[in-house]
């Protein structure tokens, strides 16, 4: 399959949370079952964050105005980066990139170490204590394999979410940007085209990145790059020391200390 992408147009989104619930329904992700396990978030945003059983959330940001507010919505879920920090961080190779661009955690291989949760610049993957696995959006690989679209896209009633080949979605995003600017949204920006070598979820943030809670110019954290640099560096170091000591061993063959001149000691 060619590289695919989801495109989210915030100017069409009404934050109905259909995407949030459809994802849970399709992937059969549980919610708490008893009243005491639900927490009031003081906001329309609920839950407040992704968790191992909630892979997509709608976020709500209010900016006060003289009349009403600017209420900015965003679909928050895995961005499926090309340069995925989580993939680098995983020590057991449980995270892989599919041909269609999706970054997928293989639950069979995941050991719950949570390195990926700490590597992700967006803090998306979340670890579940109950089964010691970390989970996140997997771009509905089973649906894609059967010629369907991700559950969130299929559910979206307003067409804020669309899906297709990444090159087409990039074009769609750019058109949407022009339309938003034409309507007077001067701060409108597109997101995901080049970030992290290109993400497989693209966005139109019609009031600008920050207003919708998107991180400008995200990067794989330097410390992660540095840390991963240790792997080849360490390998080289070990190779060097073993190699060096190997040569040392060879040069020491036939060494008999009795043949040295112990009288040197006295001479000193």
């Amino acid at each position: 399959m060619a590289e695919m992408a989801i495109f989210y147009d915030s100017s069409k989104c009404t934050a109905c949370k259909g995407c949030q619930v459809a994802c849970k329904q399709w992937n059969q992700l549980p919610s708490p079952l008893t009243a005491d396990k639900f927490e009031y978030t003081k906001s329309y945003q609920s839950p407040l964050e992704t968790n191992p059983d909630t892979w997509v959330i709608m976020t709500f940001d209010e900016v006060d105005q003289d009349i009403g507010v600017e209420w900015n919505f965003m679909r928050r879920a895995c961005f499926h980066c090309t340069d995925a920090a989580c993939l680098q961080a995983c020590p057991v190779g449980a995270i892989s990139k599919r041909d269609n661009g999706a970054v997928v955690i293989d639950s069979e291989k995941c050991i719950g170490c949570q390195y990926c949760t700490n590597a992700c610049p967006f803090d998306i993957p979340k670890w579940k204590e109950a089964d010691n696995k970390t989970r996140k959006c997997w771009l509905c690989q089973d649906r894609l394999a059967n010629g369907r679209q991700p559950a969130c896209v299929t559910t979206c009633p307003t067409g804020a979410l669309t899906f297709g080949e990444r090159t087409e979605m990039v074009a769609t995003a750019k058109t949407a940007l022009d339309e938003a600017k034409a309507k007077g949204f001067n701060d409108a920006e597109v997101y995901g085209v080049d970030e992290l070598d290109g993400m497989h979820v693209l966005f139109l943030a019609h009031r600008g990145l920050e207003a919708h809670g998107l991180i400008r110019d995200p990067k794989v954290p330097d410390m992660i790059e540095l840390w991963q640099l240790l792997k080849p560096l360490g390998g080289a170091a070990f190779a060097a020391v073993i190699g060096g000591l190997g040569i040392s061993y060879l040069t020491g063959i036939g060494y008999k200390r009795e043949e040295t001149d112990e009288s040197e000691e006295v001479q000193k």
Binding site: K12, T14, S43
Partner: protein, 825 residues
């Protein structure tokens, strides 16, 4: 809706007022988005900044209950700036009709008011007429003489006097202009609290649709209807649309967002006390002692409703089958009749309280949470002898004795809870807000003992029939002769047979009729619902997929000779009436037959024929098949006038919408000294309060995440997670006043009750300035109550008043008074 969902895409300006379409009808935004792609503007008017407002082009905050001040001001603005669509108003409304010279309006009261009875004598509201037009029983109305047709005195129409120049001071146009002179922008802003600049901007934008060829659509819901003048609110929107020439236009209309998936179907099938299927009046024991009375009193002199006897007799013929004959007045005597007492929802609970109503059947209804002043309704239930609740879950009503303040040991009510199948566990039709009757198929079997409502009803009817047959009793034929031959070979209800009967058929051969134009008043046809007639017309199949109601062609070609793409989708489901998607659609063209908007034509007269993108709502063909020529411009065929009513005598509280304050209001009426709607019945149990103790305006509303009284959604963890707790939204200013922070538990109280909710402090509510004073408004969802699984919380309706609309008795849920305080821990 006069139009429909897809048609929204044809609008130039979309106004959502008293309705929150993005949150409560998410799919609607798909079509609004289409309209906006073509440059349409989306305006939201709401006390609270909702998710609809979040995506709107213009938002106007307005205090709950002041829509007529806002709309009346808009009329005044339209008159002053001549923004009304003049040719449309002249030709398609009763603007030119003259009214009785004794008609008057003074200081909030129309002429003919009886203070003691709180009613209007409408004699002075009638048209000034000259001459009479009796029915031509030799010609168009010859059917009254057909053998088998019950005898009745045919009505006599009165010819109204008119002034086509619209200058006579007694013509509707001038009366209306005069009526709204008081509604200046300053007053409209002072009463509604909408900042004047924003208000004028909204007025200007919306009034631009008065240009010929432009269309504005209005979406509304309970924010307009749930007031003591709710019917007037709706009329006010209709009047606006008529002034601007938006009725019958693609992208226009008055469009109710129905609040339940099949509430449209339920009102079509008359699940309301005052109507029988397809909006005919329920017979009244005093008014309609015999069939003749009914036909004479209910049949108007003009308009399409002159065919009512055909629909009514056909209905009786289906209800009582062979038993109904001309000799026994088609079993009219067996038909249940109203006893003249008000048994609307509020009144019914009063009657329960008094002990006159002793038993209660609830089909998917939860008044313990959804009713106004619901703690009073729960208390009324305690007095019942028996209750039968049919529902998917044990609702608060079905377990009313478990309510926090009720002592079960004092209650003698026998309660039955019958588990019901939900919508995908049974098949049947649903009418959406746009009148599209779409068949739904069964997906899975219901769990356990749950049964679909039709099946439950069938078992009850069969049991009653057996009991009456065995034991006799008062008027046993009313039950024993009731048609109920909709059974399958396993003696279960076969809903397809019922659907067929609803469509209607000729009695002699049992074959389905094509539509309601084939119905007769002589007993030769039977029909369960004349509006639905045409939805099940394939005689050779009992498969819903082969019927219009099951049709699923999603293409949108032209009906005849025009470019398609207007959104009619004539091959998708059946739209009542006769698959007509936009009603009053003659008004989409000028009297000469040219579409007001040539780029979005519904119809076009070519000089020899009518081209069409919809089923015509006008006589486009004569009996011999020749196309009728313009002007044939009777666009509003359901009214005797044939023209739409800017001035309407049929309303209980006035022919023009007039601003009154809600029954609990923080403000004195600035438009007149008649504080409240003068035709409303007020019960003591409403326990109305005043602003000195309860200064804060409160409204209730719905969320995307939850559904009605919460029985379904509060039992679904996935949904509870998206909005887990009952909350109250309040402004930062009010929160600061009261020392409340988000997350605090807040007590909300008034004379009717007290509940708690968690605070959500937000700038989406801001204080209003009303007549110079600061007035705060708060709001809560009403989805929560004391039972149902994963989330319980305060019942908002403990606070709402059981005082109802002057015309329909719908309770004033949307504007009442409370006080709030932080709950002491």
């Amino acid at each position: 809706m006069t139009n429909h969902w897809v048609d929204l895409k044809n609008s130039d300006v979309v106004l959502a007022i008293g309705g929150n379409n993005a949150e409560n009808h998410p799919i609607s935004m798909k079509w609004v988005t289409e309209a906006r792609k073509n440059g349409a503007k989306y305006i939201v008017v709401d006390p609270r900044f909702t998710r609809s407002a979040a995506v709107s082009d213009l938002y106007g905050p307005l205090r709950s209950g002041t829509d007529i001040a806002f709309l009346g001001g808009l009329y005044n603005y339209i008159f002053e700036n001549k923004l009304y669509h003049e040719e449309y108003v002249k030709n398609y409304t009763n603007a030119s009709w003259l009214v009785n010279p004794d008609y008057g309006f003074d200081d909030g009261l129309f002429s003919g008011y009886d203070e003691a009875g709180r009613k209007y004598d409408k004699a002075t509201w009638q048209y000034d007429t000259e001459g009479e037009t009796p029915w031509d029983t030799e010609g168009a109305f010859a059917w009254v003489n057909k053998p088998g047709t019950p005898a009745f005195t045919t009505p006599i129409g009165k010819t109204p006097k008119k002034d086509e120049t619209l200058s006579d001071p007694n013509c509707v146009f001038q009366l209306m202009k005069k009526h709204y002179e008081r509604y200046t922008p300053e007053i409209a802003s002072a009463v509604s609290g909408m900042p004047i600049d924003r208000m004028m901007e909204i007025w200007e934008t919306y009034a631009s649709t008065g240009q010929p060829g432009k269309a504005g659509t209005i979406m509304y819901a309970m924010g307009m209807t749930q007031h003591t003048y709710g019917s007037q609110n709706v009329r006010a929107m209709a009047v606006l649309q008529l002034l601007l020439g938006n009725m019958g236009m693609p992208g226009g209309g008055v469009n109710a967002l129905r609040g339940e998936s099949n509430v449209q179907g339920s009102t079509d099938m008359a699940m309301l006390f005052h109507i029988i299927p397809a909006y005919m009046a329920t017979p009244n024991a005093t008014k309609h002692k015999v069939l003749r009375d009914y036909l004479e009193k209910e049949t108007p002199s003009g308009g399409y409703w002159t065919n009512k006897p055909k629909f009514f007799i056909s209905l009786l013929k289906e209800m009582y089958g062979d038993y109904a004959t001309a000799a026994n007045n088609y079993a009219f005597d067996m038909m249940p009749k109203l006893n003249g007492k008000n048994h609307s929802h509020i009144a019914m609970f009063e009657a329960m309280n008094e002990g006159t109503v002793k038993g209660l059947f609830l089909w998917g209804q939860n008044p313990a949470v959804g009713g106004p002043n619901c703690s009073m309704e729960r208390n009324a239930m305690e007095k019942l002898d028996w209750m039968v609740a049919v529902d998917l879950w044990e609702t608060e009503t079905a377990s009313f004795w478990k309510a926090p303040t009720i002592d079960p040991s004092t209650i003698d009510t026998e309660v039955f809870l019958l588990p019901a199948a939900c919508h995908y566990e049974k098949q049947g039709s649903i009418s959406n807000s746009g009148r599209w009757i779409q068949w739904r198929w069964k997906a899975v079997d219901p769990p356990g003992d749950a049964m679909d409502d039709g099946e439950i009803c069938t078992e009850i009817v069969h049991a009653l029939k057996d009991l009456y047959k065995a034991e006799g009793g008062a008027l046993p034929e009313a039950i024993t002769e009731l048609t109920w031959d909709y059974m399958d070979e396993n003696d279960h209800l076969d809903i397809t047979k019922l659907a067929r009967a609803i469509n209607g058929y000729t009695v002699a051969d049992g074959k389905v009729v094509a539509n309601f134009t084939k119905l007769a008043a002589d007993g030769s046809t039977a029909c369960g619902n004349w509006l639905f007639s045409g939805y099940w017309t394939n005689e050779d199949s009992m498969d819903p997929a082969d019927q219009p109601t099951g049709a699923r062609d999603n293409t949108d070609p032209t009906r005849k000779g025009l470019d398609g793409g207007m959104g009619s989708h004539l091959g998708w489901s059946f739209c009542w009436p006769v698959n007509r998607r936009i009603i009053y659609n003659r008004a989409s063209c000028d009297p000469a037959g040219n579409p007001w908007n040539p780029d979005k034509p519904l119809f076009k007269w070519t000089g020899s024929e009518w081209l069409s993108n919809d089923v015509p709502d006008f006589g486009n063909k004569a009996a011999d098949g020749t196309e009728t020529k313009p002007p044939n411009s009777t666009a509003f065929i359901m009214l005797p006038e044939g023209n739409a009513r800017l001035f309407a005598q049929g309303m209980a509280d006035g022919p023009f919408p007039e601003h009154y304050e809600p029954y609990e209001s923080p403000a004195t009426n600035a438009l007149s000294s008649t504080q409240n709607d003068p035709a409303v019945v007020v019960w003591e149990s409403a326990s109305l309060g005043t602003k000195d103790k309860f200064p804060i305006v409160m409204s209730t509303y719905r969320l995307t995440e939850h559904w009605q009284t919460g029985g379904m959604t509060r039992n679904l963890p996935w949904l509870v997670e998206t909005m887990p707790k009952m909350f109250i939204e309040l402004s930062q200013e009010l929160a600061d006043d009261k020392g409340i922070e988000s997350g605090d538990s807040v007590v909300i109280e008034n004379n009717r009750g007290a509940i708690t909710a968690l605070a959500m402090v937000t700038n989406r509510f801001k204080p209003f300035t009303i007549n110079g004073e600061t007035v705060h408004q708060v709001g809560t969802p009403w989805h929560w109550s004391y039972s149902s699984g994963c989330s319980i919380g305060g019942s908002a309706n403990d606070l709402t008043p059981n005082v109802g609309d002057a015309n329909t008795m719908i309770p004033e849920y949307k504007a009442f008074l409370v006080d709030i305080r932080k709950e002491e821990v």
